[in-house]
Symmetry: C2
Subunit: 189 residues, 2 copies
C-alpha cells in the first residue's frame, strides 16, 4: 500500500535493526484518514473470505481492526491483556510474550464473544515474531471458530512471524513489507 | 443519544450497583456502526470548540476517540498504560488508579505528541470516579496544551467523576447518563 509506505518513510524512526517506531501514525498517535484507507484495503483483500468478525488484541491493533470491521459491516473484538473486574469469568486465555513490551502477558477473550463456526479475520498493526497472532489463533481454535486470514499493517520480513504463519497455510496479507532496518535505513521489499 | 441508550438496555449486564458491563458493544466487542454514530455526535457537540487533537487512554476509549477524530479531521492520541521499548523517553506521565482494573497504573504520552497551545478534546468510554480523566488533564497541563472539553460515552451519575470535572468549569458531555444500577435495573436520568 503506497500511502502507508510513504507515511512510514516520512515519520518512521529506526530505533534499532529490529525496532521501527511509528508512534506518530499508528501506535500512539493515529492518523484516522490513513487508518481508514488501511481498513478499506483489508476489507478489499478479505471480503471474499466472508469474515463474521474481526479480532485483534489491545491496544495498537484496535484502530485498524475497527476500520476494517466498519468496512466489512461486522463486529470487532479486541482481546484484553489482563483480567478486569468487568471481565467474564468464562474466558479463553493464552499466555504470550510481547516483543515490544519485553514481558509476558495473558491475553483473553470472553467465551460469549467467539462462537463455534464463526469466521474470524485477525488484524494487527505489526508482526514481529508472531507470538500475539499465535496466541489469538489458539484462542480461535479453543472456541472452535475458523480463522479466515491474518491482516498485518507492517510486516518485518527479517523476523519469523509472517513466515511461520504462512508455513501453516494461513493466508497472511501485509500492507507494508519491510526487508531491513539495518544501518538506520528503512528498506521495503 | 437514543440509539446508545437502546443498545445499553438490550445488552448491558448489571454486575453490581456500581458496575455495568457493556462488553458486547463497547469495551471488548465493538459495534462499529454504533461507535461511528457516537463519533458523529461528539464531533457535532465539540466542533465549535475547534479541537486540534482527540486524546484518550488505552484501550476501551480508542474506538470512540478514533471515530470522533475521523469526523473532526484531526489526529487521535491514546495515552499508554506502561512503558514499552518503543516508547519515547521524553514523556509526560501520571499515576492513576483504575476503577475497573482495581489497580494503579502509570499513563503516559510522548512529549512530541502534545504541543504547547494545542486544543485537546478528551474522549473516553466510561466515567466513574474520574481518575483517568484527571490524569489525562494533568498531562495536558504539563504539556501546556489546552483542554476544550470531555466527551464520555456512558456517565454513571451516582459516581463523582463527571460532577468533579464540571465543578472545575470543564465542559463534560455524556451520551448516556445512568442515574442508578440498583436492584439490577439500568435507570437513565
Amino acid at each position: 500500500m503506497e500511502l502507508l509506505k510513504q507515511r512510514i518513510m516520512e515519520v518512521g524512526v529506526v530505533v534499532s535493526d529490529q525496532v521501527l517506531k511509528l508512534d506518530a501514525i499508528l501506535n500512539h498517535q493515529v492518523d484516522p484518514t490513513l487508518i481508514m484507507e488501511m481498513g478499506k484495503e483489508f476489507a478489499r483483500l478479505f471480503r471474499e473470505s466472508k469474515p463474521d468478525k474481526v479480532l485483534t488484541v489491545e491496544s495498537s491493533g484496535i484502530p485498524i481492526a475497527f476500520a476494517t470491521a466498519l468496512q466489512l459491516g461486522v463486529p470487532m473484538v479486541f482481546a484484553r491483556r489482563k483480567k478486569t473486574v468487568t471481565m467474564d469469568q468464562d474466558t479463553y486465555s493464552e499466555r504470550v510474550p510481547s516483543f515490544t513490551k519485553g514481558i509476558v502477558t495473558d491475553i483473553m477473550v470472553s467465551a460469549h464473544l467467539l462462537s463455534k463456526g464463526e469466521r474470524i479475520l485477525l488484524i494487527d498493526d505489526f508482526i514481529a515474531n508472531g507470538d500475539a497472532a499465535r496466541g489469538l489463533i489458539r484462542i480461535i481454535e479453543k472456541a472452535e471458530a475458523e480463522l479466515v486470514g491474518v491482516g498485518i499493517a507492517v510486516e518485518k520480513l527479517f523476523q519469523a512471524g509472517g513466515r511461520s504463519l504462512r508455513e501453516r497455510d494461513i493466508r497472511v496479507e501485509s500492507l507494508a513489507r519491510i526487508a531491513s532496518l539495518s544501518g538506520g535505513q528503512i528498506r521495503f521489499e
